[in-house]
């Protein structure tokens, strides 16, 4: 089995339009959540979100590209450019032939669906743009990354709601670890912040109208975000031989299915995914210093996740740190695990633990060190990133400092 390292990272989200700005915002505990701005927002009961502001897609992409790029693809391409540039890899020849791109998204081109349904149903038009289908399809972002960067190996898109990115990164990790690919581009993106996207979530009655306060006793729901996180996973010897700057090592992962309820989380399923990732990595649980929680800020997730952590780690649960950066960038649904992986990299590489902001009241059912409100300096050797999706599908990734 090959060792797998991360040699490039890119992002765009409500906290920043690149990795350094995002990490700075996380260190400062800044909140990227604010009033939503888009057509018909006044007809929504939920009017806040972690929206990407000031992203001038028109300046980045030409007219022809804009007719093919939904916002989730625009985010993906911007983040992929940053990640691949940082890695220093140029994909050609044999490297290009075996390197691919596996991305996660839950909804794909949601605003393209929204705009075009509006055109045919509300405005009564009988004609839509010829590229609606290639623009909204869930694999559009992965396809455009492959075309822009000449990635000709295994490429596809994974969709498991809120765990999409983690499942996608697990696939990419397996491919590099097995020797099937020397490098893989992976991560995920989401852009559901449009009228139809938020209206659908509103119906479920789990959204907060004022803030995302994970683990806080007065939490009242999740807040949606948008954006992308993209990484370059590379075989360790390959990265070392070319003198690449290695951000951290991916040492294991596990997936599990609750097989129980379509929306309610399960402690057992979450615990099996966390302990599975540690077993896969052959890491003793006492080594884990930080967990980037799924931490949605809903009543059900946070208490279930904390109970699962207590089950897996026993007494060590009280010594490790666990935070939810969703409090700052919102819940990026299918892209969330990718953006949250940045907090794990910051913990391992910079020794800075991103806080859970908006924390106001301790909850006895979430009695762990949730790094409330302020970032903390700490030496961390191993970090976990949790993602637990609707449908009961869980994916946890284990990372180690290098």
């Amino acid at each position: 089995m090959k060792r797998v390292v991360i040699t490039g990272a890119g992002t765009i989200n409500a906290l920043g339009q690149n990795v350094p700005d995002t990490l700075e915002a996380m260190r400062e505990g800044r909140c990227g959540i604010g009033p939503l701005e888009f057509r018909d927002v006044e007809r929504l009961q939920i009017q806040i979100g972690g929206q990407v502001r000031g992203f001038e897609a028109e300046g980045l992409y030409n007219r022809q590209q804009m007719s093919l790029y939904d916002r989730f693809t625009q985010f993906t391409l911007a983040a992929a450019n940053e990640a691949i540039a940082q890695s220093g890899l140029v994909f050609s020849g044999e490297l290009a032939a075996t390197s691919g791109v596996v991305l996660g998204t839950a909804g794909g081109g949601v605003s393209t669906w929204d705009d075009n349904y509006r055109a045919v149903y509300e405005e009564g038009k009988n004609r839509v743009h010829p590229f609606v289908v290639p623009k909204l399809m869930n694999n559009a972002a992965a396809s455009h990354v492959s075309m822009d960067h000449n990635l000709k190996g295994p490429s596809f898109t994974v969709s498991t709601a809120c765990a999409s990115s983690n499942h996608a990164m697990a696939q990419a990790f397996m491919m590099v670890r097995s020797g099937m690919a020397r490098a893989m581009v992976s991560g995920g993106s989401e852009s559901m912040l449009c009228f139809g996207g938020v209206k659908a979530w509103e119906g479920l009655r789990v959204m907060s109208r004022d803030a995302c306060r994970p683990f806080s006793a007065n939490r009242n729901g999740m807040v949606q975000g948008e954006g992308a996180g993209i990484f370059v996973f590379e075989e360790y010897e390959h990265a070392k031989a070319r003198g690449a700057d290695i951000l951290c090592e991916i040492v294991g992962f596990a997936m599990s299915s609750d097989a129980s309820d379509i929306v309610m989380p399960s402690k057992n399923g979450a615990a099996r995914a966390m302990s599975g990732a540690l077993n896969d990595a052959r890491i003793d649980r006492d080594m884990v210093g930080y967990i980037n929680a799924h931490g949605t800020g809903t009543a059900a997730n946070d208490k279930t996740e904390c109970a699962a952590v207590a089950d897996v780690f026993g007494p060590h649960a009280d010594r490790l740190m666990i935070s939810s950066t969703k409090s700052m960038h919102g819940h990026l649904i299918g892209g969330t695990g990718a953006v949250e992986l940045l907090a794990c990299i910051m913990a391992l590489r910079d020794g800075v633990i991103a806080p859970t902001i908006g924390y106001e009241e301790p909850d006895p059912e979430c009695a762990l060190d949730v790094v409330p409100n302020e970032a903390r300096d700490a030496k961390v050797t191993v970090a976990l990133s949790n993602a637990f999706a609707f449908g009961g599908m869980n994916a946890v990734i284990a990372l180690r400092k290098i």
């Binding site: 009961q45 119906g203 479920l204 009655r205 789990v206 907060s208 939490r219 009242n220 729901g221 379509i262 929306v263 309610m264 809903t298 009543a299 059900a300």
Partner: protein, 85 residues
């Protein structure tokens, strides 16, 4: 059908019961309605009466809408309908 009978019909449908089996002092638990069933019932009630019920599934007991019994739910709906005018 008056408000009470309409609400009982909606709840009965959700619980897969006859309306006669839904009494005013029944709780949602008694009727076997879980959190998903509750959210669906609230949606049906909002559609039937064209009202908006302030209900957040994260904090059902803290929402400004009492769901402790069928009678409480009916009273809350009657209030929302009268406020709508």
């Amino acid at each position: 059908m008056n408000i009470k009978d309409q609400v009982i019909a909606i709840i009965a449908e959700q619980a897969v019961l006859e309306p006669a089996d839904v009494t005013l002092d029944s709780t949602l638990d008694d009727l076997g309605i879980d959190s998903l069933g509750l959210v669906e019932s609230i949606f049906s009630i909002e559609e039937a009466f064209d009202i908006t019920i302030p209900f957040n599934a994260n904090a059902p007991s803290e929402s400004d809408f009492d769901i402790s019994s069928v009678a409480a739910i009916i009273a809350g709906i009657e209030r929302l309908i009268s406020e709508k005018g």
